[in-house]
């Protein structure tokens, strides 16, 4: 049905899927807390409204970016993708080394339940607090997904469909998990996912910047694998060095 260049489409689907999975799991935690405390009507209503807005943004911005010359898009989007990817990778390195604490979905769920329980609940129609909370968290986490999907799709020139497919698969998986477990998905190794996504986005960002600036990569498209491997090796060294530096700090 779709004729993809798999050297780009494969990593794009994977990056879209993993990055979206992390964001959707964070949104799911809050939406589940809203549903449990304030009722499911408001939680689902707010979530669906935000998803509709996010889909609209992708449909408007995605094709619009394809009208800008590819070199300019690769440089601009590549820079944003690199800033985004390296930020995630740096944070994942620091978390893996124990410098900053790991993200705790269970704790976030408890905190949200406690906060939402303080407000009186509406007896009729939609609960405004439930709708607003679910809408906000889905927008805040979803906007990151939208950026990743558009960036991966636009910079690659025609990769919007693979990037969207990855994100859609993550959304379906997270919704299914939410329906089955009805509690925060805390068993997902979130930092490992963020580590991998940081590596993928940093590799993509570096590659697109090189392409946009006409700096030729050895092996052309396949150099993406080499970039991923070099970022991975550097990140693993960084984790070891950061762990040692952390231990050397005075207690």
């Amino acid at each position: 049905m779709f004729a993809f260049d798999w050297a780009h489409a494969g990593p794009t689907i994977l990056a879209g899927f993993l990055a979206s999975l992390v964001e959707f799991v964070e949104a799911l935690t809050v939406v589940l807390a809203v549903g449990a405390v304030r009722g499911w009507k408001g939680a689902i209503g707010g979530t669906l409204a935000a998803l509709a807005v996010l889909l609209l943004i992708v449909l408007i911005l995605g094709p619009a970016l394809t009208r800008i010359p590819l070199d300019a898009v690769q440089l601009g989007v590549g820079t944003l993708l690199l800033l985004f990817g390296l930020r995630w990778l740096r944070k994942a390195i620091l978390r893996a080394a124990g410098v900053i604490p790991l993200h705790d979905e269970e704790a976030l769920f408890k905190k949200e339940v406690e906060t939402l329980g303080r407000f009186a609940r509406a007896t009729q129609g939609f609960d405004r607090i439930a709708v607003a909370t679910a809408f906000k968290i889905t927008m805040v986490e979803g906007i990151e997904v939208v950026f990743i999907v558009i960036a991966l799709g636009a910079a690659g020139g025609g990769l919007l469909i693979p990037a969207s497919l990855g994100a859609a698969a993550a959304l379906i998986l997270v919704i299914a998990a939410g329906l089955v477990v009805h509690k925060p998905v805390s068993t997902i190794p979130e930092n490992t996912l963020k580590f991998t996504v940081g590596l993928l986005l940093s590799a993509f960002g570096t590659f697109w910047i090189g392409e946009g600036a006409s700096l030729d990569w050895p092996g052309e498209d396949w150099s993406l694998l080499g970039l991923f491997a070099l970022y991975l090796a550097t990140a693993l060294i960084a984790v070891r060095l950061c762990r040692a530096a952390q231990k050397a700090l005075p207690a």
Binding site: L75, T79, L80, L82, L83, F84, L86, R87, L89, R90, K91, I93, L94, A97, G98, V99, I100, P101, A132, F135, K136, M139, V140, I143, E144, F147, S202, T206, I209, G210, G212, A213, S214, L215, D216, W217, P218, S223, L227, L230, Y231, T234, A235, I237, A238, L241, C242, R243, A245, Q246, L249
Partner: protein, 68 residues
């Protein structure tokens, strides 16, 4: 809510200002300055990458030395 979303948008790219600015400065040097040096392919691309790896390593290590 819009303020939160805008803050979240900026936060997508920057949580350590020095880290983000160093990356941007290096990208300017590597993409504008390097092609003028007349280096043979693929040296400019590899130098771009080496700089980014060094920035990542230094920033993470600086944060770790600063404490959690």
């Amino acid at each position: 809510m819009i303020k939160t979303i805008l803050a979240e948008l900026l936060g997508l790219f920057v949580d350590d200002a020095a880290f983000a600015l160093t990356i941007l400065a290096w990208l300017v040097i590597a993409t504008i300055g390097m092609p003028r040096l007349g280096l043979q392919t693929p040296a400019p691309a590899l130098i771009l990458l080496a700089g980014l790896l060094a920035i990542l390593l230094e920033s993470a290590l600086r944060r770790a030395r600063h404490g959690g």
